[in-house]
Subunit: 884 residues, 2 copies
């Protein structure tokens, strides 16, 4: 017996997407739950796959098609091609994954020079019938026979011209009959054969055309982009036609069972009386609301509302429904899960859980963590009218308003004076950091998601639009232009880092807030997750924000940022340039009170939750002027003003910077290596931490410092520094007479640390994976160089599936992390292990962290809610798919 | 019952080194094989450890000491302190590991104001007796009581002055008696108590002093340096004294059972009649040869020769023996395995194996691979008289003669003209490479074993002396000076990179050669090893040398060196600066013939053995001028000669170099990343390889090319390039109509490659560990920065046991390599795995490579013999210690 290639709608169900495609499966499901679906059947995706491989229908498929058609004819009491009472069908593609508009559809199939008579008789509407016929000829001619659509449209235009009318609707039945004749002649002229009159021949050809459309170039391109496999094939749905354009008791529309913009629980839809689906989409007439239906056809309205309820209850989700009313009878043509905005997604999930339609677990699983990201940044008020100058790459989310400044140092200066500025640069580089940090937003003309500007901006939560190639920056004249518009230094613009828009003037912004629904959803998420969520926070303000967003501690407080600041920099430089330990200690003594104050602020914000403080990490030369810049200054002075008193000083500085600079600073004298060579620096930091902690402890304020020693690769590094530093801690606590719970641990960010975890864990109370650096060392990628030079081509060529600096690399870095965790727990079961790389706020990576058994993730404050949700989903997914 | 703390010599054996120390164990062994050893006993190291911990003797130790002493007295027929017939003993330290001169010894113990009489009576030699007593008081006063030795010597000097004599020997018995009295008064004055007269009290105090000497500062420092654990403790040997200074029928000496300088089989020793051991060492009288003994005391001579034979046969090695003849009776005081020169070690091992004394396996195990290194470089003829100007760090072995040059570019120029030059620099940097390569040797004033100069020199086998701080370089005047000597540019010097000597003028050199013994030993080694040994060779000359030294293939041929060379550089730069693929291909087309010729030469030298050719690896900017240099030129031109036609060109070059340069070039656009972005470069290389191979194959010359794709971290990189490149290979072979066995593989040099070995091995025919880069990425150490900045302090502080760039890191890198090998073999059992990092020629690392199951190591040609020996030892060690 041959394989079953054809399924009547009654024979399928929603689970059969693989075989029947999404559309066919849903049509089957609706049919089976008793909804008024026009009868029809589905030819399987396997038939399509066979066709693509073998170039012909599989044995038995055509026979099964005819059999199914017979049953449909029976149910409809009509026959395909019948000159009295003809059945018309649509032939549509429908793949497993929605590929909107990518493949082909033929409507009104079954019309020919005979059956048109029946249709006229049936409908008593010759104009409708001829319009249907001429549309069918055009559609069939275009899609099945491959004749350019434009050629049909030209004939239509000529006809309108002859008749002196501008709208299709003004043409009479006779005009359309004539036009149909012309269309058929066009087909004959183009193809050399008559337009196929035999309905079964029409059907066969249409099915083949749909099969073939799976591999049309735009479908292939779409699948490439969406990473849909090419070997799935499409199903073909053959369904009885119903018509919304059979008069004022007919109509057609689309509806969502809830408002997918806001999430509100009300049916939201648009429809037109006496119209076809394409009229609604084309937007020629203003569509009506579902409420209008209630007035004109209250019974149909009630039936529709009931159907919406049935569908929502059945699918347990918001549904997107296409419907048609033919002469007072309602038909459901298609349904699928409705796409929704971020805001709506959250409200709908929470509401449905409260309604008991879905469980809280399901509600948590329903919201894409990326949606939260949208809600957590300032947005431009969508109601505002704005003048969009240009669009670039949306590189760091959020909107920002400020005065345009073209130089980083000026941005720093203006920013210091309380001006809100937008830094506009062709591209940025590490020298621009201070100016970038002082800006509300960043706009660059070059670069992509991984450019320096984009990476820094995301890192610091500064909105950024990058690679906005439409703007032409004239640095000499301090302006940029887009077409005719010119924006000068000091002019106000708005940028939207969530959409990439660059807007002239000040657009009204909406502050981000956690809505009640978000809070509720997150509280559910908290109850479902095992992973803790902490935040990376370097300042009291960041720590406060993190706490408000639900962070359960600080997972990474970078202390080097505490070395910047106008009052501090001179001491920092003095410390670095010191030629003796004493000189260095003197400068450090001045820096101590600043750091202590910072720590007090952060401890306060965290209210006794653990605060992981990382000791100084970057190479010292990062605190000094750049070598090339100094070299340029010195050379210029030597040639132009050799007697300048500055020269000697600059030369000395140049020499020192030259001594300090490194060929590969990422792998150089930094992290714990610095602490081992210059213990006085880290001793000062530890003193500041414990003095801050002691001061608060004396006021009975709970504190929980955790000292993190970075870049350890050998257990001896940790052992050496821990013993020196724990002594400092004990000294302070003893002197101050307080007793505080504290821990010492290390960052795991070089492979050797992970590989020798069974040694290192014996000396560490906690670990935190520094996956930014770990990714760099595991891949041997310098992020600064890789993202500008080869990550993009690697992604293009499919060599890497993701940028590993955004999504944690499961096979390499993840495998190493898992080994590290397992080895550590074997020798130190109480060790607390987290992650503080940027991956800690990325949902896929959070999932991986959950799977390998970390205790917590730590991410930027703004991403804490995302991490909370992602952590819950990771746990629910694990539980659900435990058997896999 | 109490622990056994004291062993009579009869009770111990050579295996008891842990408990009895090296000296005690050997004394026991000799006693038991019937050699004439003066009776005595050993107090265990455990007693010392107890003493150090508890501050007193363990219970029972003193009682056991007295008991053992009683037995010695019985055997000798004398009693300690007996006024008639006194026993004298020596009390010496003796630890498990020899610590020459680090701890203390007391001789002649048992003398006091009573027993001196007995000694006089026994010997009938008052002068001898009083000399013995005054020596004992001094030694005891100094070592046990802590009185400065100088104070005793002052008294001796005063006595000689009074007596108007200059030599000790000229003092009479009376003088010495008086001196003894003065010494005792000195003790009383210094300590407030009389010199201990009670012999047992003397013994107790001496034992305590020896225990304490384990922790004297110089002993601690020595153990730090030699990495001997501090908790071993020393044993104490108490032995009856015999005297070689009892007249002309007495004597004392040291001997080796073979000539430890040359390895010749003849007893080599020195002795003096009527003398004490210290007289031989002091070198006041010219010692006699063993042959002289034959004449004067033929029986003793024969007995001694017999004893030498017995000892060699018993210990199966060359022995270092101390002996004394007391009144015509021979005593053996100590024996240990004799230290020997490299040359002797090899000859002795080979000879003994041939004599059947040891097995060939043992012979192979007896030679330190480092010894081979000494023999494989040019040496300064040891017979020549040379003027040593200064000594620096011996950084790269071998001697070199040449004219002094102070600038790298000049060295390159002179070198090109056939001059032999020694490049002398304060220190070197990567810009100096070309000049360094053109030099016979390198001398720097600054830097250590890990400085740039040292590393590069070792890498290229160029002799180097670095950190020679005694030389003062005056770069402006083109000279250097050492004290009064001035060496100008063009003057000839000789440097010895094996000893660190800098010599004025041309010293005669001896060419290295593999002696017959070395060849024989290596051929035995070959039969015992499982690891293959290949060589790293970039040129036909290197390949030839490698072949001659026994390399079984080329494990790494770096192709980028083939881009240097005067005729090539312009095309290389054109290739890099090309703005289109076509331009680049044009330049590559010119380079192809050069590379092809190089490959032909290497294939020929290797005679069909496998040749692993690594495709281009370094970042392209390494082939262009340095950014800073260009910047300086451009700035200077801008200010001094803004209309210069060069300026625009330099600016363009500067811009391009700026685009190409990277923040962390080690982790940047290099290796396979280059090949993926610019496939035309690697396609040219593969074409050159296969055209070369095809040409030879047509002449029936066997060839075996293996193409190595560097820096792969993701299987897709390898898959992508392999498919492109294998196509090129097939094209060439098809066009040329030949069939050649070839392989494609990859270098494992980033952790991700090792971590995902189960994927990568499916696409690779072979792996080669690039442990230089793998060490960099596993540790997160940039070698260039680490070796100059923090490796040395890390070694000093004991944070790292070795420089991991010299000795492969077992716990981290080694563990990862093992995982990688195991995972690879699981999916591809035929994969061939080697190592081509510098570690491939370092014995410890070779051992690790053997243990983790590599197929071969590859090292510089000069190190091939070392690797052959080390590989054999690794295998023999594994076999011997299999059970551990």
């Amino acid at each position: 017996m041959s394989e079953k290639w054809v399924y009547l709608f009654e024979e399928g169900n929603a689970q059969m997407r693989d075989l029947l495609g999404g559309k066919g499966a849903n049509l089957a499901e609706m049919t089976n739950i008793g909804l008024p679906v026009p009868p029809g059947f589905t030819i399987t995706t396997r038939a399509c796959v066979y066709y693509m491989e073998k170039g012909g229908f599989p044995t038995g498929m055509w026979e099964q098609t005819l059999e199914a058609l017979g049953k449909v004819e029976e149910r409809m009491g009509k026959k395909l091609g019948d000159p009295k009472n003809p059945l018309l069908v649509s032939v549509r593609s429908g793949a497993k994954f929605s590929m909107p508009g990518m493949m082909d559809t033929v409507l009104n199939l079954g019309l020919n020079d005979e059956s048109i008579k029946g249709l006229i008789e049936q409908t008593n509407n010759p104009r409708f019938a001829w319009d249907a016929y001429r549309r069918f000829v055009m559609m069939f001619g275009n899609i099945v026979l491959g004749i350019e659509r434009r050629k049909f449209e030209d004939l239509m235009d000529k006809m309108k011209e002859e008749k002196g009318v501008t709208q299709d609707i003004e043409l009479t039945a006779e005009d359309l009959e004539k036009l149909t004749q012309q269309y058929k002649e066009l087909v004959k002229g183009e193809k050399g054969f008559d337009f196929p009159q035999e309905p079964l021949e029409q059907l066969r050809m249409a099915i083949e055309a749909v099969f073939k459309s799976w591999n049309n170039p735009r479908a292939i391109a779409y699948r490439e982009k969406e990473k849909i496999p090419h070997n799935l094939g499409t199903a073909v749905n053959v369904q009885s036609m119903v018509f919304g354009n059979m008069g004022e008791d007919s109509g057609t529309g689309v509806a969502f069972t809830r408002d997918v913009a806001t999430g509100e629980k009300r049916i939201y839809g648009e429809f037109l009386f006496n119209a076809q689906g394409e009229d609604v989409v084309a937007g020629i007439r203003t569509p009506l609301k579902i409420e209008d239906l209630e007035e004109r056809m209250p019974e149909i309205h009630d039936q529709f509302v009931r159907i919406c309820e049935i569908l929502e209850n059945h699918y347990r989700d918001v549904m997107d429904i296409e419907f048609t009313i033919e002469r007072g009878k309602l038909y459901i043509l298609q349904c699928r899960v409705g796409k929704r905005t971020a805001q709506a997604a959250i409200k709908i999930a929470v509401d449905m859980a409260k309604e008991g339609l879905i469980s809280k677990e399901e509600a948590v699983m329903r919201v894409d963590p990326a949606d939260l990201d949208q809600l957590l940044h300032r947005q431009i008020d969508p109601r505002a009218e704005v003048k969009v100058l240009a669009k670039g790459v949306a590189a760091s989310p959020g909107a920002a308003v400020g005065k345009v400044v073209f130089e980083a140092h000026k941005a720093a200066e203006w920013g210091k004076n309380g001006e809100k500025v937008i830094l506009v640069r062709p591209e940025t580089n590490p020298d621009d950091i201070v100016g970038m940090l002082a800006s509300q937003g960043i706009l660059t003309a070059r670069g992509g998601m991984t450019s320096h500007a984009a990476v820094v901006a995301r890192g610091f939560g500064i909105p950024a639009v990058v690679g906005c190639e439409a703007i032409r920056i004239d640095e000499e004249r301090n302006l940029f232009s887009v077409n005719e518009s010119v924006v000068k230094e000091g002019d106000v613009i708005t940028i939207d880092g969530s959409t990439g828009r660059v807007i002239l003037g000040e657009a009204p912004l909406i502050e981000p807030r956690l809505t009640d629904e978000v809070r509720e959803l997150l509280s559910w998420a908290d109850s479902f997750r095992k992973l803790g969520v902490r935040a990376n926070a370097d300042t009291p303000a960041d720590a406060q924000k993190a706490f408000d967003f639900g962070a359960e501690g600080v997972g990474l407080c970078r202390t080097e940022h505490m070395f910047f600041g106008e009052e501090r920099v001179p001491y920092v430089q003095k410390m670095i340039l010191a030629e003796t330990t004493e000189e260095r200690e003197e400068a450090l003594e001045k820096l101590l009170p600043f750091q202590r104050e910072d720590f007090i602020g952060i401890f306060k914000a965290m209210q006794g939750k653990p605060v992981v403080i990382r000791l100084i990490d970057p190479p010292l030369h990062e605190f000094l002027p750049r070598y090339e810049m100094l070299l340029e200054e010195v050379l210029t002075l030597r040639l132009s003003d050799p007697d300048s008193p500055q020269l000697a000083e600059k030369e000395r500085l140049l020499q020192r910077v030259n001594q300090l600079r490194e060929l590969n600073p990422m792998l150089g004298l930094r992290g714990c290596r610095l602490g081992i060579l210059y213990p006085e620096i880290v001793k000062m930091q530890v003193r500041a931490i414990f003095e801050a902690a002691a001061r608060l402890a004396k006021q009975n304020f709970p504190v929980h410092p955790e000292v993190m020693i970075p870049l350890v690769g050998h257990v001896n590094e940790l052992r050496y520094l821990r013993s020196i530093l724990e002594e400092v801690a004990k000294e302070v606590l003893e002197r101050e007479g307080v007793d505080i719970e504290y821990h010492f641990g290390t960052m795991i960010e070089v492979p050797r640390a992970a590989l020798t975890s069974d040694e290192i864990a014996k000396e560490a109370d906690f670990y935190s994976f520094g996956t930014n650096d770990l990714t760099q060392t595991v891949f041997g990628f310098s992020r600064d160089d890789a993202e500008g030079k080869f990550i993009a081509p690697y992604l293009d060529k499919g060599i890497l599936p993701h940028n590993p600096f955004e999504v944690l690399d499961r096979e390499g870095v993840g495998k190493l992390m898992k080994m590290c965790v397992d080895d550590a727990r074997k020798v130190n079961p109480n060790i607390v292990i987290g992650i503080c790389g940027e991956h800690g706020g990325e949902p896929e990576s959070v999932k991986l962290c959950h799977e390998i058994g970390l205790d917590y993730v730590s991410c930027s404050p703004m991403r804490v809610p995302i991490a909370r949700l992602a952590a819950a989903q990771a746990n629910l997914k694990t539980e659900v798919f435990e058997d896999k």
